[in-house]
Subunit: 139 residues, 2 copies
DNA sequence: GTATAAATGCAATAGAGTTGCAAATAGATG
DNA sequence: CATCTATTTGCAACTCTATTGCATTTATAC
């Protein structure tokens, strides 16, 4: 992605421009799927692990990325779309995990179907779907 | 729960009868919600942490309980209903987490609504719903 | 350019869970 | 009931992930 655009995103979220933040943001915007800490650690070896952790946490705080909890406790991070602001995330899209390639994707055009549960009040719902992604189906 | 019934469950799953297993099983069957490792560790202080971990893992292997991953990475365990056997779990029920009391419940009578995702093949889906449970609504 | 608050790197720490191994014990057998 | 064996347990050590404290460096406002 163009450097100026990455800078603009950080500025829009009142964050200082640093090399690590630019590189992490670029990693998220340059891939079609969610990234794990290991993905970033493996790719951006020039930064300390702690700095990467802090970068991810600050991006979450600012509403730039969100944490995705998949089965087996595996954690990854996806970019936020519209309705996220500092200290308040609101997502209603489906998460997909491919059992072949292991990639986790946000599917922003698929909203989580929320069931009615009698006697309960529902405020949020998270759906994780497993299966084969479009790439792996055609291979 | 009656001791003989607990024994019978362990025998039905080809497990030896031990005090720890009886107590853990009794804890699960005597509560209306899922239990975390911390819940069990706090309640069954007479057993070593490692023994509790191993007990939970063997119950999962045998299809007696299943792991529930909720938001913020919090892990709890719920009893399995019908379709689970050694080394193969199959659940399609909704999980509910109450934001007031923190309890996590299996809702076996609510099946996860599985969306069609064009170009993808779906094999499994997990839905976690947040809100207020029936007890907390009436308080 | 200087001042200041924020960000970074490194070391130490915290927490969750697992593994190795010797001692204890459940269940089988005679 | 006594004995044998495989399983289970408890303890210590260890692994893995993530966070915290602190001194140093750096981004930004002036
Ligand atoms: Mn997402
Ligand atoms: Mn369940
Ligand atoms: Zn795939
Ligand atoms: Zn509640």
């Amino acid at each position: 992605m163009i450097y100026g655009d990455l800078e603009a995103i950080l500025r829009a979220h009142a964050m200082r421009i640093t090399a690590c933040r630019i590189d992490v943001l670029d990693s998220f915007l340059g891939t079609g799927h969610a990234l794990s800490f290991k993905d970033l650690e493996g790719k951006l070896t020039q930064y300390d692990r702690v700095t990467l952790y802090r970068t991810l946490n600050s991006f979450i705080d600012k509403g730039i990325i969100h944490k995705i909890f998949s089965d087996s406790g595996f954690i990854s991070f996806g970019i936020c779309y519209d309705t996220c602001s500092p200290h308040h995330h609101h997502h209603n899209h489906v998460h997909f995990k491919c059992d072949a390639c292991g990639n986790i994707e946000c599917l922003p055009s698929y909203h989580v179907p929320v069931p009615e549960i009698s006697g309960y009040k529902i405020t949020e719902a998270n759906l994780l779907v497993n299966g084969l992604c479009s790439k792996c189906i055609s291979n």
